[in-house]
């Protein structure tokens, strides 16, 4: 019985000390981590919406999306972070769209765990620049091994077809969700 009490007391004591210490550290670290996250979001928004000067989070939808303004405070479109499955894990991207939701202003990959050297090419300029001013009407589409002919087509990367397709699929899912939200009531 004595050992049991001793055991309980030891573990309780260690638990309390550890919990107390961690809550102190977390109190100090949490605002900094939040700041980094915000700075990263802002950086990505300005990359996908090059003319943007300020942005605002839209609050009446259940997913994360930002309205973007130019220096005159006129709305110039949306920045939409969205994620989905890639070849090996989640791909998280940020896409810039115009007000009518039919044209892409830019695309950035925020997080990915694709195959180094192959799938990771989706983060490179050569792939991403295809999305500049790309039409999303009716949806973005991909072609394989030949240069794209239509306004809404991009060419997949050789050796990374699945990753390239995944990006396009995630993109289309995100655009569709935003269009649906716009249809039933609009986004503010």
């Amino acid at each position: 019985m004595k050992t049991v009490i001793h055991m309980l007391l030891t573990l309780t004591f260690i638990g309390i000390v550890s919990g107390g210490l961690l809550s102190q550290i977390s109190e100090w670290a949490e605002p900094k981590i939040e700041e980094h996250r915000k700075a990263e979001t802002a950086r990505a928004i300005y990359l996908v919406q090059p003319e943007a000067k300020s942005y605002e989070r839209i609050t009446n939808v259940d997913f994360e999306v930002y309205k973007v303004f130019d220096e005159m405070k006129n709305s110039i479109g949306f920045a939409l972070p969205y994620e989905g499955n890639g070849f090996q894990g989640k791909i998280r991207l940020m896409v810039g769209l115009n007000d009518e939701l039919n044209k892409l202003k830019g695309l950035q990959i925020l997080e990915q765990v694709e195959t180094p050297g192959l799938g990771t090419k989706i983060t490179e300029e050569n792939f991403l620049k295809q999305f500049l001013n790309l039409s999303a009407q009716p949806m973005v589409n991909w072609v394989k091994a030949v240069p794209p002919e239509k306004q809404n087509e991009i060419q997949t990367i050789t050796g990374a077809t699945i990753s390239s397709k995944a990006v396009v699929i995630i993109l289309n899912d995100g655009i569709k969700k935003l269009r649906d939200a716009e249809k039933d009531g609009g986004v503010k």
Partner: protein
């Protein structure tokens, strides 16, 4: 018997004689997973050393107060506390590094080097010796991870610590930054170091035999003279 081991020996054994990676083959998960570049290896090893030193200190200080039945649970809580501290501090101060190490920082909790040292060393030794031992093990881990990371980074992306060392015409071996490259490099390094210590053992043996033969012939000589 314990006190015969000097403090210096306590430190250096972690680097070579019982190097956690090359000799004890512990902590393989972070060793293989994060060493795509030298800087990742260094960061991982430093984080591990931090956790190792502080948990060794705490655990060896309270080693007589912890009942044996709950010692592992207590060790894990202490280790987890320090790992969470490292994780939070890294996220707050070095967001880029923390991103590239991803889930491997929280996974230090289950790194067997740390729990292994607590069970094998800190729970039986004084705080000073435990801290020295932890520093030694940490240095050994750092050397191993830095070597592995440098080799993989050099062959896989031409650079070490971000400085380009191989010329542009060298085509990077993609396999080196893939998981397979980690296994290949580690296997070859283990073979190399085992071979080295085998040779050392053999030459030590030869020296001992030569010395013995010398004394023997001298002794025989003396005996014969006495006759």
């Amino acid at each position: 018997m314990k006190n015969k081991v000097t403090i210096i020996k306590e430190y250096t054994k972690g680097i070579w004689q019982s190097n956690p990676v090359f000799k004890q083959i512990l902590g393989m998960c972070p060793t293989l997973a994060v060493t795509v570049s030298a800087i990742n290896g260094i960061a991982m090893a430093l984080a591990t050393t931090f956790v190792l030193v502080f948990s060794s200190f705490i655990i060896s200080s309270v080693r007589k107060l912890i009942p044996t039945q709950v010692r592992i649970a207590s060790y894990i809580v202490v280790i987890a506390t320090f790992v969470t501290i490292v994780d939070l501090v890294m996220k707050a101060q070095f967001p880029e590094l923390s991103k590239s190490l991803g889930p491997y920082i929280p996974l230090i909790v289950v790194n067997c080097i740390i729990l292994g040292r607590q069970e094998a060393f800190s729970s039986k030794n004084t705080p000073l010796r435990s801290v020295v031992d932890a520093l030694g093990m940490g240095s050994g881990f750092l050397i191993a991870l830095f070597m592995l990371g440098s080799i993989r980074e050099l062959l896989g992306s031409r650079t070490i610590l971000g400085f380009q060392l191989l010329p542009d015409f060298y085509e990077p071996w993609l396999v080196m930054i893939l998981p397979a490259g980690a296994f290949l490099t580690l296997g070859l390094m283990l073979a190399f170091f085992n071979n080295l210590s085998l040779h050392k053992k053999k030459s030590d043996n030869d020296k001992l035999i030569a010395k013995y033969l010398k004394t023997k012939t001298a002794a025989d000589f003396v005996i014969e003279e006495n006759k």
